[in-house]
């Protein structure tokens, strides 16, 4: 669901926008988006607020599917420090970055993501992990157990 190179771990104190830039950079490194998509995510945050902080500690940053997206992709930044989005679900430790070229493309990754996010034990373990290999294994473990 999320490849190893799409996962980052930071000990830095990031602002909400900095965290969105870091997770956007992962998508950019994969050539999944054009740089404009990162700006679109941040503009969406400015305009619509932190509605994408969908659960305690969890943000799913994304923007509208448009030509700034090259292919569907999902990345994850785990922040050891608390990130504040001015949401009732602050502080945030898991910042996902999602992109899709059309609304239709969002579905596949999201089903698996929804299951992952519903598992509090795995989420806690991901938050506490100290390296990206462990985080990748935790996500993978959950995904395998799904029986989809």
């Amino acid at each position: 669901m999320i490849r190893l190179e799409n996962i980052a771990l930071t000990h830095d104190q990031l602002s909400a926008k900095e965290a969105m830039e870091v997770v956007g950079q992962l998508l950019l490194n994969n050539e999944s988006i054009h740089p404009q998509y990162i700006q679109n995510m941040i503009q969406s945050y400015d305009r619509l607020g932190p509605y994408f902080v969908i659960a305690p500690g969890i943000a799913i940053a994304h923007a509208q599917p448009d030509e700034s997206v090259i292919k569907h992709d999902l990345a994850l930044l785990v922040s050891k420090k608390e990130v504040y989005f001015n949401s009732h679900n602050d502080p945030v430790h898991l910042i996902f970055g999602l992109c899709a070229p059309s609304a239709h493309h969002h579905m596949d990754g999201l089903v698996a993501l929804a299951e992952l996010l519903s598992d509090e034990t795995i989420i806690t373990q991901i938050k506490e992990a100290n390296d990206i290999t462990t985080i990748h294994q935790l996500i993978h473990l959950n995904h395998q157990g799904e029986n989809v």
Binding site: Y51, N89, L98, V111, A114
Partner: protein, 97 residues
């Protein structure tokens, strides 16, 4: 029994609203409620025909001014208990059973 038309709303109708739609589907199915749940975006949500809207706190403030149907706030889009409780409270309130 009339089928409920339920709209799950986020910024663009593609990301978090799809997560919420899946959770609402599960909640209605578990309780034997026939509901058609679909994802929508905040810009067009109030003009799309539906019986009820579920969305986040931030977007609810925006939607409540325009929507003609009840707008129900979900604090956590992955909390099965919160979503099921609020979904079923809505069903009770319209006495569809």
């Amino acid at each position: 029994m009339k089928e409920l038309k339920v709209q799950a709303v986020c910024g663009f109708g593609v990301g978090s609203s799809t997560l919420l739609k899946m959770k609402l589907d599960q909640a209605f199915k578990k309780n034997g409620i026939t509901a058609s749940v679909f994802a929508g975006d905040v810009a067009t949500a109030s003009s799309v025909e539906c019986d009820v809207i579920f969305t986040s706190l931030e977007l609810a403030e925006n939607l409540k001014q325009r929507a003609k149907v009840p707008v129900i706030v979900i604090h956590s889009f992955v909390d099965k208990v919160e979503i099921e409780t609020k979904a079923m409270a809505y069903v009770e309130s319209v006495k569809i059973l």
